[in-house]
Amino acid sequence: MATCPFCGTVTYIDRSSALFFYLLPFSIEESAAKGIFKRWTAGPAQAKDLESTAKITKLTKEFFPVFRFRRTVNGKETVFAKPAKGTLLPGMQDLTIPPGNTVVYDAKTSTGGAEVIQPDITLDSYLPELTGTSIDQALVYFPIYEISYDYKGSSYQAVIDGSSGAVYTTSSPTRSSGAYVAVMGLAFVLGLLGGVLGIMVNPIFFVLIIAGFFAGKLLASKVVGREKPADAGVKVK
């Protein structure tokens, strides 16, 4: 229901067939987005030298369009999200609308210099496949940072959710667990030898357990130690 502030007329709005436009403003500034990307490159799953070697070649601030359908299916409210634009961007396939301070999107809405990606899929194309009856439907623009980066001659992509800071990627340079297993394995073998020989030959061999600890710690520090990048920030071409 909407009440006119001038004449007081109360009007019933049938939301089921109208399309509302919403936008989630950016909560994360560009510098913070770069910092989040840098934090992600230093993560345990990423290649050890990714943080020091990766070079951002493109960083775009944009709003990505998604249709949100609220429908009654078998007497229960169900929410569907469908892409309003075909994309191969990482993270856009699962189409979860990120958390955000939803505002009405119209001509007066400030986009803060971000590019608003226009839909290329119409609402009608989804209606036949949706079950239940409509409660409301909306086109939601959500904020993303699209990042392209180079690593050892190959190009990769990442997307950062501009409201919560979540990082989405498809493929990225990863780190093998081999070195970690090898280090702990070496310490284990030394400890094992120390235990067996200490019991069977001479207690002096128990010192191998301590040697295993120090050898493991020393080698582990080489594995986890990271190369400091030349500058504190992520290199941008």
């Binding site: 909560s27 913070a32 919560s164 979540a166 702990m184 120390g194 986890v224």
Partner: protein, 343 residues
Amino acid sequence: MSEAQKILVSMTCPSCGGQVQCEEGEDLVLCKFCESVFALTTDEGSNKVMYKMTVDKDKALAKVKAWFGTGPKAKDLPNTAQVTEAYPLYLPFWRLIARGKACVCGIEEQRTGKDNQKVEIPREALINREYIYSEIACEAGDLGIQSIVIPDRAEAISYDDQEIVTFGVTSSRDAAYEVGGKAISQMAVKDGSGRMTKVYFSKSFFFPKAFTLIYYPFWIVRYTYEGRTYFATVDGISAHVVSGRAPGNAGSQSTSAGIGGAVSGGAVGLGLGLVIATQGADVGVGVLVVGVVAAIALIGYFYKRFRYGDEILEGALNGKGLKSGRTQEKVQSIHNETYDYFK
């Protein structure tokens, strides 16, 4: 948890104008002044309640700085981290209060007598408790918050989405209600089967008392360390750090590798040595078995700290990294509303 965690709303009696208080989940309210009874109805099956932020920015920052020094985080984090921004926001949560009932039948295995003989004792439990289920009503994204516990001192205020940034609801009310009811039913069965080794029969259901949309305050604090941006989330009422990302401690990672490898190897080696030295005597085999079990546990624990300790994750955060702290469970039971029966 106390009863006070339920929301109390002050209302004016429509008959005499006296102040009456109704509690979350009540359908009927009695006015203590004129003894009128009136029914409460809600719109679309859920109320909307907002809680007042009582933690100021300085306190939130102080809590985050104290948090820097806890757990296996980088040693120099308290001295080198730079807070870049701190802002308050409200997050929406679905909250279901329901009575969970369950009948659970099974057996409890016990060892008795000199022979340590195994006996099976039939057990029956009838659970009748109140539970609170809460779940974030939007995608959590990278905030690491899934659920809340409302402190006793929390003050409910009228909903106002203009004052502070308020994240919108994007999940389905009905889906949350269904999932919450199922979780409460499952928790009732879990509570009933606590003493049982095997469960042969269980039946559970829930009686809903209240379903509320809660807007709860948090502080989001973002900080940088070596040019990387991390964050922490502070509860806007209790001032606890509920989630966050932080750089790990490389020294602690290396030590974990050394301890995990050498000590577990030593434990197995001792057992193996004893087995060989005693030519397979029971004592040797016993020490070997204990050593192997201890080694598996040690390797599992320390390998995680070594392999994923580059980044520390607190709260319900996804991704690689070392999980630290505890994550708030979605279902909590109200113990003073319990009428259980165990046999």
